[in-house]
């Protein structure tokens, strides 16, 4: 009874707040939660008539089909290696850059260089891959020209080399984003107490020692948070860039979970199989969830820092 009354007064006072929430809530329900519920299609056999909610149940058939398929090992492995490779580099390089950048005491130099290194972040994936294809063109790109100058012959087409895929993928991301990713570390470092540095200096600590013993520990909580978030995204490594870089020659390394979902479900390469593709989606989403919870647990055990 008292609860009902309280609810009534709250509603009377705050109904407008709920009204504000209405559209965003509708958005999240329609475009996020309904698709989440739609993942149960993984256990059905999709028919056009039955759609997302009424197709006949087939149990674990689709999941098992994926687990047993020869693609399973390949796409999971490719996705995992690519993201871990990317996560490691896209954490270490920005941190290193931020630490070094932070020691410089020339405001103008810092401002100009920071603007330049953050610039590529705003290039779209399509253009990035386009630029890469031009630069690494084995005849007219810088790569081809320089190779020819040094070795006297044109190199082989690097995009046809499956082994090159991962390196091209990860290093182009590093090139594009290290400056942007460093911003947060640089901003954090500006909060280091200047008194600490002065005291350490009086005690005869060198610049390098101060970076190592004062700056780096100060960054640790930020590094942990960024890493957990990165681990949470390990299996969701982008469809967008990998798909653009894919060609028939490099599929062995470039077929990821997300691109495989697309090619099974929507591309028309295979006979479109929505249920099977959804089963792979589900597998991926669950794996992601497990990873982020594990990472968070480990982080909170060893360091007091965690996402929630």
């Amino acid at each position: 009874m008292r609860f009902g009354k309280k609810l009534k007064t709250t509603l009377k006072r705050d109904w407008q707040l709920y009204l504000f929430m209405l559209l965003p809530l509708a958005y999240f329900i329609i475009f996020k939660f309904v698709p989440m519920g739609g993942l149960q299609l993984a256990f059905r056999n999709y028919t056009p008539k039955g759609g997302l909610w009424n197709s006949p149940w087939v149990g674990l058939k689709n999941i098992l089909k994926f687990l047993e398929s020869y693609q399973f090992e390949r796409v999971v492995k490719n996705t995992f290696i690519l993201s871990v490779y990317g996560l490691v580099l896209s954490t270490i390089i920005p941190i290193g850059f931020a630490l070094i950048y932070n020691t410089i005491e020339k405001p103008r130099f810092k401002k100009i260089t920071q603007t330049i290194v953050t610039l590529p972040h705003f290039i779209s994936v399509v253009v990035l891959v386009g630029i890469m294809m031009q630069l690494f063109n084995n005849r007219i790109g810088i790569y081809g020209i320089m190779y020819e100058k040094f070795f006297g012959e044109f190199p082989a087409d690097i995009f046809g080399n499956p082994k090159a895929f991962r390196h091209l993928y990860v290093w182009s991301s590093v090139w594009q984003n290290f400056g942007w990713n460093a911003i947060i570390y640089i901003a954090t470092l500006s909060g280091v107490d200047a008194g600490l540095h002065e005291a350490a200096q009086l005690d005869g600590a060198s610049r390098l020692q101060r970076v190592w013993h004062i700056d780096l520990p100060y960054l640790t909580p930020t590094i942990i948070i960024m890493t957990i978030m990165g681990i949470g995204n390990i299996m969701s490594v982008g469809f967008e860039k990998a798909f653009l870089m894919q060609n028939n020659l490099n599929l062995e390394y470039s077929e990821l979970i997300s691109t495989y979902v697309y090619s099974v479900g929507l591309s028309g390469t295979y006979k479109s199989d929505f249920s099977y593709a959804t089963a792979i989606d589900l597998f991926n989403a669950v794996l992601n969830l497990v990873l982020i919870f594990t990472a968070n647990k480990i982080a909170s055990r060893v360091s007091d820092t965690s996402l929630w």
Partner: protein, 303 residues
């Protein structure tokens, strides 16, 4: 004055090791900056070079046989114009929709006495770590009859909860609770308070988030790629994909003169298209850089 003195004192204290360290630090930052800028210079240089020079592999950092012909050809390419028109529309409309929805979401979540606050926060946070995947989302969009409409580009990723968190944090930390309380005591309704206090006071963060959404929309090809087949609705990025990645120049889009010119010219045109499609953002960025940086810092406060 005094500060200048202490800085000077600091320098005199620096030993040889530290001076070497400083020199190395500057060199490293300089090298990285050069690595970032060289590919961009190469692209720009090639776009102004004759196609003969480009195809002969002569162009490195400066234009060879400077010409504007490549730009003239590309400007006659209809797809680029259609793409530009559509992208400008998607960016403008998408940014307005996204910013409004995000604000509507952030304001109640930042109001301490709002009773559903914790629940909604958790609920929406879930969308950041778990999602329905490509196929279910596609089926939902299809069942809503949104395929091949502008809404399929604008709606499915309209709200990023990450951006909502940034807004919420900003509102929570910069607008004091007392203001809301006293406004309420004076008979100001939540809607009125939103319009006359929250929006004006949150202007800086609204600008930041608007820019985030605008850049994302400008650069996105995923939604359009999945949901659109009608070329008249294609955003620029999809046409760029055809031209840059699939190397498809469709002859029907060009007038006869251009078709003749295009033979053996494709690579040079790619450089031009990269420049033409990327230049607007690159030119604006240095002027708005500080707002982007601000956004990153506010966002780093824990969700």
């Amino acid at each position: 004055m005094q500060r200048a003195k202490t800085i000077k004192k600091k320098h005199s204290r620096e030993g040889l090791g530290d001076r070497v360290f400083n020199a190395v630090a500057i060199t490293i930052v300089l090298i990285l900056t050069v690595i970032v800028i060289l590919p961009l210079m190469n692209v720009v240089a090639a776009s102004f070079s004759s196609s003969d020079a480009v195809n002969a592999g002569k162009v490195l950092l400066l234009p060879i046989e400077f010409t504007l012909d490549n730009y003239r050809t590309v400007l006659k390419y209809n797809s680029v114009w259609i793409g530009y028109r559509n992208t400008i529309f998607y960016t403008a409309a998408g940014t307005v929709i996204s910013v409004l929805l995000s604000l509507f979401c952030a304001y109640p979540l930042a109001t301490k006495r709002f009773s559903g606050r914790k629940f909604f926060n958790k609920l929406f946070l879930l969308t950041m770590i778990f999602n329905g995947g490509m196929i279910p989302t596609y089926i939902v969009v299809r069942d809503l009859k949104l395929l091949n409409s502008v809404w399929s580009v604008l709606l499915p990723t309209a709200i990023s909860f990450y951006n909502v968190i940034i807004m919420r944090n900003y509102i929570e930390t910069t607008i004091p609770d007392e203001l809301e309380e006293s406004a309420r005591v004076d008979g100001c309704s939540p809607a009125r308070y939103f319009v006359s206090f929250v929006v004006p006071l949150a202007k800086p963060i609204i600008a930041v988030i608007a820019m985030y959404y605008a850049v994302a929309q400008w650069n996105d090809y995923f939604n359009a790629f999945l949901y659109l087949t009608n070329k008249n609705l294609y955003p620029l990025q999809l046409f760029l994909r055809e031209i840059l990645i699939s190397s498809k120049f469709s002859a029907s889009d060009l007038d006869p003169d251009a078709i003749k010119a295009i033979q053996g010219l494709a690579d040079t045109l790619k450089y031009v298209i990269i420049v033409v499609s990327t230049l607007p953002l690159m030119c604006i960025y240095p002027f708005v850089q500080k707002y982007f940086v601000k956004g990153v810092m506010i966002g780093s406060v824990k969700g």
